[in-house]
């Protein structure tokens, strides 16, 4: 929606102002986004190294072989992030026997406070099992991943983050297959998208 407003604001502005075509603005994601398969490629091309909740070095390509459900969060987040995590937990519950066939991945925006230890504590607190990976990375690695996943974020003056709330589904090779934006929205389509990748 926002993106549409942006696009419109540009279009309106330019139409008043005798166009200077800044760009061929392309259609942007809506609440349900089906990612175009033909142009999609693996996000596992990302070479940056992360650290997982057990303080081990981690590269995204280690997730290869199973479909992955991924979101970006920060653990000091009081509203949206617990909601995202519990949406993912619910998806996991719903998968029941299949849940071992899926990776669940959380990557933190908060490169300062979300140390591997803090992520470990969060995982324990939220009862996340062995199928979950929580990652901490450098500012640059986190920013690049956010761009690959079309997630917007900014740090505010209190050290918290404003960010888009998106759960993404990657196939076994790390190709983005489905994205769902929003809180308190039905995860039915996300569930179907995951099932399709098993």
């Amino acid at each position: 929606m926002k993106a549409i407003i942006f696009t419109l604001s540009i279009a309106l502005f330019l139409s008043c102002k005798q166009k200077k075509e800044p760009a061929e603005l392309k259609p942007v994601q809506t609440t349900f986004t089906k990612v175009n398969d033909s142009s999609a490629e693996s996000i596992y091309v990302l070479e940056d190294t992360f650290t997982n909740e057990n303080n081990s070095t981690f590269v995204l390509s280690q997730l290869k072989g199973k479909p992955t459900v991924v979101a970006m969060i920060f653990t000091n987040c009081v509203y949206a992030c617990p909601r995202i995590t519990s949406d993912m937990l619910e998806l996991q519950k719903k998968l029941s026997k299949d849940s071992d066939k899926i990776n669940f991945l959380l990557v933190s925006f908060d490169t300062e406070r979300d140390t591997p230890a803090a992520l470990k504590a969060y995982a324990n607190n939220m009862n996340l099992d062995k199928n979950w990976t929580l990652l901490h990375g450098s500012d640059e690695a986190v920013r690049t991943l956010s761009v690959l996943l079309n997630i917007q974020f900014a740090k505010d003056e209190s050290g918290n983050f404003s960010h888009s709330n998106i759960i993404s589904v990657l196939d076994k090779n790390g190709v983005l297959k489905f994205q769902k934006e929003g809180l308190n929205v039905s995860q039915e389509k996300t569930f179907e998208a995951i099932k399709k990748e098993i």
Binding site: I5, A23, R143, F153
Partner: protein
């Protein structure tokens, strides 16, 4: 905590040296009122990266040639006006010293890394771009709006063809739009903290009430433009320049 990035192999030859200018430390006043941000002193390329310079990059880094670039890093419009991988084309000779455009964020970032530089953040770019011109007859805002009102030129002019600012940096406005490292900074849709503030930073009437200067349509455009981009978009008039933190 130790982080490291798997070293990307770039050619040792890093091509032409683009002169950089020092931008002194100062305060960046974001377009949306709120937190002003301290900007440390940094070096900035005095012009945007040109086609000639970008050609050196793709010669040295085959992975960034038109035919070889990964789609996730650059869409099908990548360098679309270039004749081939290593040829800009006879009709495009005049563009050699003009900014390279139709390049993605990933490509821009890789170029800067090859030069041992980085893309500027939104704060750095906007702060440098707000510096006073030294050779313009009109005010800066007036100048930008006049530029925005013009149709695209048939051929993109050369770098240094517009104006210079007090830091001796050229063409921050008037030639192209430029990538920033955090172009995907959050500007608001669903509020992650639940207090409604982010919704306010939007571009409808309610959001407009919160901006720094309601008459600053030029900033309005830049912020909305950035918000509509994705990392692999390759677009007419969108290029980049690099910086170095001090």
């Amino acid at each position: 905590m130790v982080f490291f990035t798997v070293p990307v192999t770039y050619s040792q030859t890093t091509g032409t040296v683009r002169k950089m200018q020092k931008v002194p430390a100062g305060i960046y006043y974001p377009f949306f009122s709120g937190n002003n941000e301290k900007v440390n002193s940094f070096l900035m390329d005095e012009t945007a990266v040109t086609n000639a310079e970008y050609l050196e990059f793709v010669k040295a880094n085959p992975a960034w040639r038109k035919s070889q670039v990964k789609r996730i890093y650059a869409d099908a419009n990548y360098l679309r006006y270039w004749e081939s991988d290593l040829e800009i084309g006879k009709n495009n000779r005049a563009l050699l010293n003009s900014p390279v455009v139709y390049v993605s964020w990933f490509a821009a970032k890789a170029y800067c890394a090859w030069k041992n530089k980085k893309l500027p953040s939104v704060a750095q770019w906007e702060y440098a771009a707000s510096a006073k011109p030294v050779n313009l007859k009109t005010g800066l805002t007036e100048y930008i709006l006049a530029w925005n009102a013009q149709p695209n030129p048939k051929m993109l002019p050369n770098v240094k063809s517009t104006y210079k600012n007090i830091y001796s940096i050229y063409d921050m406005h008037g030639l192209i739009w430029e990538w920033t490292s955090d172009f995907n900074s959050y500007t608001g849709s669903v509020d992650s903290k639940g207090n409604g503030q982010e919704e306010f930073n939007n571009f409808c009437g309610a959001g407009g009430a919160n901006v720094k200067n309601k008459k600053d349509y030029a900033s309005f455009l830049r912020y909305s433009y950035r918000g509509s981009l994705k990392g692999n978009y390759c677009i007419a008039n969108l290029g980049f320049r690099c910086i170095k933190n001090l």
